[in-house]
């Protein structure tokens, strides 16, 4: 196991800057997920750590050693790819052992490692099959096995589950989690699927535009998004946003929303003292809204127009001050539709962002 430290790393392809100078320190044994939309630079960062592409600036340290100019094989890393990248002409056993044999490990050692990895990943019966004879899930396990046999310090995953169907995806996600607990190795996992991010990660780095927007525990990311991008990206259905202006006159702080409605914000912890009249965006998650009044909470005017039942619970869709919004309700709850009503929430659970910069207030 080894720590991974990225120092002022930047990557440019010609004129295009894919990764801006960014720093990221990953503790030994930590499971970091790089989450973001496609084109945000998460794969580029992973490939930079793996040494598969040259960085334009900055350094990569693994296990306290500066590996910026090292070949991937000398960095103690293993990588699992989206397309599994198994060698089609070789059996599973050969796929696992090829790297070791090329490195010149003694036969017994090679066999021992392959057996161990096969046991951990429960792929013993598949050892003598060809990749083309395996299912997607089995192939991905073999791909993981390939890194496992090399006792790598750091596991790198490049969207490994995106080619699998939903059921298999959950199954393998759990298995990767189990693997992490069992091996305790440092893991860096790239995905655009936020559920994977929230369930697997010790910490999540939400990225966009080649920058890390926020690096925090899943709970922190979910509860206290550092800016509007992170808030909107994480959580499904996404957070509801209501545009308005802050008003500190008339007792207590509130958000003046179109058509003269005032949404009281007392109880919201401000990072910087609120300025009157500053345009701001209120962010409330669907499950933080309730039909019933909340003692000491705030209220929002809404007009609901339909209810989606999702089995375990339902989602009521409507408009708050013209912006689309959703609210999570119990399946049997009655939701008044077609006429203005009020819904309630605790300001200290909500988030408030500067309308222009999107920064959390």
């Amino acid at each position: 196991m080894a720590s991974v430290s990225i120092r002022d790393l930047a990557v440019r392809f010609g004129a295009v800057t894919v990764l801006q100078k960014l720093r990221l320190d990953i503790a030994e044994g930590e499971f970091i997920v790089l989450l973001g939309p496609s084109g945000c630079g998460k794969s580029t960062l992973l490939n930079a750590v793996a040494g598969l592409l040259d960085v334009s600036e900055g350094q990569v340290w693994i296990g306290g050693k500066n590996v910026t100019w090292e070949e991937p094989k000398d960095r103690g890393i293993g990588m699992v790819f989206q397309s599994y990248a198994l060698y089609p002409s070789m059996s599973v056993r050969k796929n696992l052992s090829f790297g070791l044999r090329v490195a010149g490990l003694p036969k017994a050692e090679v066999e021992h490692r392959v057996a161990r990895a096969a046991k951990i990943l429960q792929i013993e019966p598949l050892l003598d099959r060809r990749p083309s004879q395996l299912s997607g899930g089995q192939r991905q396990r073999v791909a993981i096995g390939r890194a496992l046999v090399r006792d790598v310090d750091v596991f790198l995953f490049d969207e490994p589950l995106s080619n699998l169907d939903a059921k298999l995806r959950t199954e393998l996600r759990v298995e990767i989690k189990r693997l992490h607990q069992e091996l305790g190795s440092t893991m860096i996992y790239v995905t655009h699927d936020q559920i994977e991010a929230l369930t697997l990660a010790d910490r999540v780095a939400v990225m966009s535009g080649g920058l890390i927007q926020q690096l925090a525990t899943p709970k922190e990311i979910y509860r206290r998004p550092v800016n509007r991008f992170v808030a909107g990206f994480v959580g499904s259905p996404s957070m509801n946003f209501v545009e308005g202006r802050l008003s500190t006159t008339g007792g207590g702080v509130a958000l003046e929303v179109g058509e003269g409605a005032r949404v009281p914000l007392d109880g919201y912890v401000f990072a910087t003292p609120p300025q009157d009249g500053r345009p701001a965006t209120l962010g409330v998650r669907p499950e933080q809204l309730t039909l019933a009044a909340v003692e000491g909470g705030s209220r929002l005017p809404v007009v609901f127009n339909l209810v989606e039942s999702m089995g375990a619970d339902s989602l009521a869709w409507g408009r708050i001050a013209g912006a689309l919004a959703s609210m999570r309700v119990e399946p049997e709850e009655e939701v008044p539709t077609g006429r203005p009503v009020e819904i309630f929430f605790h300001p200290e659970h909500a988030s408030l962002f500067d309308a222009k910069t999107g920064e959390r207030l």
Binding site: S3, A27, D54, V55, S56, Q59, N66, T68, W69
Partner: protein, 302 residues
Amino acid sequence: MTALPATAPSAVVPSGPRPKRVAASRIVLYGILLVAALYYLLPLYVMVTTSLKGLPEIRLGNIFAPPLEVTFEPWVKAWTSACTGLTCKGLSPGFWNSVKITIPSTVLSVLIAAVNGYALVNWRFRGSEFFFTALIFGSFIPYQVMVYPLVLVTASLGIFGTLQAVILIHTIFGMPILTLLFRNYFASLPPELFKAARVDGAGFWRIFFQIMLPMSLPILAVAIILQVTGIWNDFLFGVIFAGTQNYPMTVQLNNIVNSTQGVREYNVNMAATILTGLVPLAVYFVSGRLFVRGIAAGAVKG
């Protein structure tokens, strides 16, 4: 966070892109490619330079020396007045014959091969695989095995020694490889495409002409290049089946170059050789990249 080691491992702290050390392997790589390029260009150089030299300069100098005083006279002579036996009209009659042979043969053989490929992939009928395998076997049978009987077949059809005979022969012998390429290409297309057209009620020919053919541009380019170069460069079928008044350029070239004019006019011979190769070269240069992309699609699936 573990403490960072105090002393940097080497004087230079590795940072940023790995320094581009001009690896020996890079030099060797370019060296080999350069030598290979020279090997390939040498004949072209010899042909072009000699075709621009006067005869005295050829007899004295060596064939690798660049021409001292350049003259295009050999080219003019090769095209208009070089003699094949008694008739001295140069290569030009042969050129038009080659055109009259190549264009219909290419159109016919590519069209038929495309239909074969399309039928083999999407309309499998009993025996279609057998015929395809037999076709591929056929491409291995040496022409010489079939030349004589084909003379009799074309004679019985009454077309021996005419354009139709040589067109028919080129269509026959072009079919195996082209059908293989088209079959591989159509097999690599997503099957849903064909199913959707069937669901819309399109028939065999409508799907072919309106959907499949327009989509097969890359492989069409490959087929056309293979056929044009193959037919234009053919000598055996031209000399036997085309009939003397339809001799393609290659037969005329062979007559000019091999006719023993006493003193051999190497410069005219080389000019004639380049002229004969111009059309296939031009076709290849124009669609080189299409050729490569098409080959990838056609051959790779193979």
